[in-house]
């Protein structure tokens, strides 16, 4: 009897618990080893670059790095008047050093975001410094009038920090006054907030459209005999395998004012030749093209959920006296909610990230905020602002995802 109280051991005398733990640890380690290439790849190709990019939305090293002496000299400035000679002397030294190293460009761009005209203030002044003699104050102000303005110096002092909220404020149409108060940008510069709203409500509309169109198709797919449903499935997937650009430009050919649809309508006498409908290069174009492109992402999760609903449930409801609509509404429909939610979140998240399709068919009124991210990445090169807008979008997506996960559970997202 006393034997049973002794801990169980393996053949070589190691307690069973320890041995088990070892074995589990070993297999865990092996599993980790197996996925480590993927993990490493994701870290290097995905997580790190995204964080590196997003960190630009607050990074503000330009003034600190390129105007160190000026910043130091400004420390005991009273902010009442344009600073005196010592500050200008420091500025000249900083600019000369920057001109020598040829790296004033980033500083010039940075300050130009805060105040138009600073780019040439810095570049032109730096070029003319070689021939300038002390005292510098007068000469520098003469070289460019911006240096004689109080706000210029307030901005330089304000931006002498390694992090700035400026890009985020600009992304929501706010700005910092030279004294550091947050104010609304002038009306004629208001643009991003409207675009955010438009992106969200139009994505919502697109999601709704895909749901309305996709639900009956998914139902057919799930209830038809295999022979027919396979054919239907191929029809659903065929556009999925076609290039995005091809699908988008096809819509241009169909919807434009000299396009197929208008031609047919004119031919049938529905509309007059002079009164052709404008269905592309506006919101209609964006909604139609994106609904079509994103439709499979709604149909597939719906289908995978509907497949798992046994037909006998509906039969049972009918045999208990339910009318067709009532039994659908009370039995079938609630069971498809996880599929609708999964398809909805997929389509919604994908559509707020789209930018090629809105750029091609959206015209001015059908543009998304993502088109401005692309613009600031490629054309204006204001990567800080692009990162700020992108991280706001990312935050919205994460919030949606968490709400979804709380309500439905992310394991419900299946594509077949």
């Amino acid at each position: 009897m006393s034997d049973s109280a002794a801990p169980l051991t393996t053949a070589d005398g190691v307690p069973l618990k320890v041995s088990l733990r070892r074995a589990v640890r070993r297999s865990k380690f092996k599993a980790l080893l197996l996925v480590s290439p993927l993990l490493l790849f994701l870290m290097i190709a995905f997580v790190i670059p995204i964080f590196e990019m997003l960190s630009r939305s607050v990074a503000n090293p330009e003034v600190v790095n390129h105007l160190p002496r000026t910043v130091a000299a400004l420390e005991d400035w009273d902010r009442q008047d344009v600073p005196g000679e010592p500050v200008f002397e420091a500025l000249v030294e900083d600019l000369l050093e920057g001109q020598e190293a040829r790296n004033l460009g980033l500083l010039a761009s940075r300050l130009n975001y805060e105040r138009s005209g600073m780019r040439s203030a810095i570049n032109r002044t730096a070029r003319g410094l070689r021939t300038m003699d002390p005292p510098y104050r007068e000469g520098v102000i003469e070289a460019n009038a911006r240096w004689g303005e109080l706000d210029t110096w307030k901005i330089i002092q304000r931006e002498a920090r390694l992090y700035t909220p400026s890009y985020y404020l600009a992304a929501v149409d706010r700005q910092l006054s030279p004294d550091g108060q947050i104010t609304r940008a002038p009306d004629n510069l208001q643009i991003h907030v409207n675009l955010f709203w438009r992106t969200f409500w139009m994505s919502g509309l697109i999601t709704l459209m895909t749901l309305l169109l996709g639900y009956p198709i998914a139902f057919l797919l799930a209830s038809l005999p295999l022979r027919h449903s396979n054919l239907l499935m191929i029809l659903v997937l065929l556009p999925f395998w076609t290039s995005l650009l091809v699908r988008t430009t096809t819509w241009i050919a169909i919807l434009q004012s000299q396009g197929v649809l208008n031609d047919v309508m004119v031919f049938l006498g529905v509309i007059a030749d002079e009164a052709r409908w404008q269905m592309i290069h506006n919101k209609i174009g964006t909604v139609v093209a994106m609904t079509h492109i994103l439709l499979p992402f709604m149909i597939l999760p719906l289908y995978s959920v509907m497949k798992t609903i046994p037909p006998s449930y509906m039969r049972a409801a009918r045999s208990l006296g339910g009318k067709p609509f009532l039994s659908f509404r009370r039995v079938y429909f609630p069971l498809t909610i996880p599929g609708m939610a999964a398809g909805g979140i997929l389509v919604f998240i994908l559509s707020i990230g789209y930018y090629i399709t809105p750029a091609l068919v959206g015209g001015q009124s059908g543009r998304f905020i993502t088109n401005y991210i692309a613009y600031h990445m490629q054309t204006s090169l204001n990567w800080g602002l692009a990162a700020a807008i992108a991280s706001i979008l990312l935050l919205v997506v994460v919030v949606f995802y968490m709400v979804f996960n709380r309500l439905i559970g992310v394991d419900k997202v299946k594509l077949g």
């Binding site: 004033l104 004629n188 643009i191 090629i356 001015q364 009124s365 204001n382």
Partner: protein
Amino acid sequence: MKSIIRKRVVKGTGVAVAGLSALAVAVAAHAEGQTLNIVSWGGAYSMSQERAYHEPWMEMTGDEIVNIDQSANALAGLRSQSQAGNVTWDLVDMLPADAMIACAEGLIEPLDHDELLADAPDGTPPSEDFVDGALGECFVASIVYSNIVAFNSDMFPEDAQPSTIEDVFDLENYPGQRALMRRPINNLEWALIADGVDRDDVYDMLETEEGIQRAFDKLDTIKDSVIWWEEGAQPPQLLADQEVAFASAYNGRIFDAMVSENQPFEIIWDAQVFELDGWVVPTGKLDKVRDYLYFATDTQRLADQAQYISYGPARLSSSDLVSTHAESGIEMETHMPTYEPNFATAIQKDDEFWADYLDELSQRFDAWLAQ
């Protein structure tokens, strides 16, 4: 969007061209058969460069030249290549405004023009032979091109053809849609001139709030009749389809449609906004492209390019050598932005102004469009 990279590689035979002694020396010292990645704008413009510079150069040296159509995003490309520490472009064709920014960021090499470039045939040094503004700290221009407004002459009665920039803003006498480029550059200048501002005062006006407001107010008068274009190929197409009566465009594209497609287009040279375009060398690539740059910017090469496209050569000494269009045999002189009667009311695009104000005015322009 997926970028289109057109690669055209022709192996040269290494035949030396007689009569170019200075060149022969340069070529003799030149390493055989390297590959040059040259970034340019694509389309008819890249074609003219290929004919005038690339093909003779490849034949002479055995080098391979790879054309990359990325000039529209050249600044972004240079910056990201430099940050990644792997610059693959050897020579880039870009606008002087972008060159100024790239130069200030140290992305491209400062150039000593008199040392690097060929003298004119009569011995004039480059610094005197190039037109004003053609030689920047890091930039050497090869062409002068122009932003103009063109119209389809079929759309107006013969005795009432438009001729000035005011006419473009005159919906009453010249009805029809207008196609303008979706950006503030040029449009604001034209709006002010059409509103009666002297062309010398345009940029001073645009530095003031009243001036900007005045320009937008003028644009407001035609806003409902404007189609905004973004790709250079759109305006000739829109004009040809008679979707619009007027279209702003690059003069070379309109010339091309007039000559090779016999389109009934006319150019309004009044208030043309001209601009230079040319080469920059990414940092660290100067030794590799030194010889090519010397060759591609000499007097004869710039004159040759004008046989293929109606952009004016940036060297004074090239102007006399400009002859006829290579395919149609049309006399090129009268189609050049720099031709005296065309040039009378021209404005030079102020790069420094736009370097300072483009960010702010683009945002304001977009907000105005969205209203």
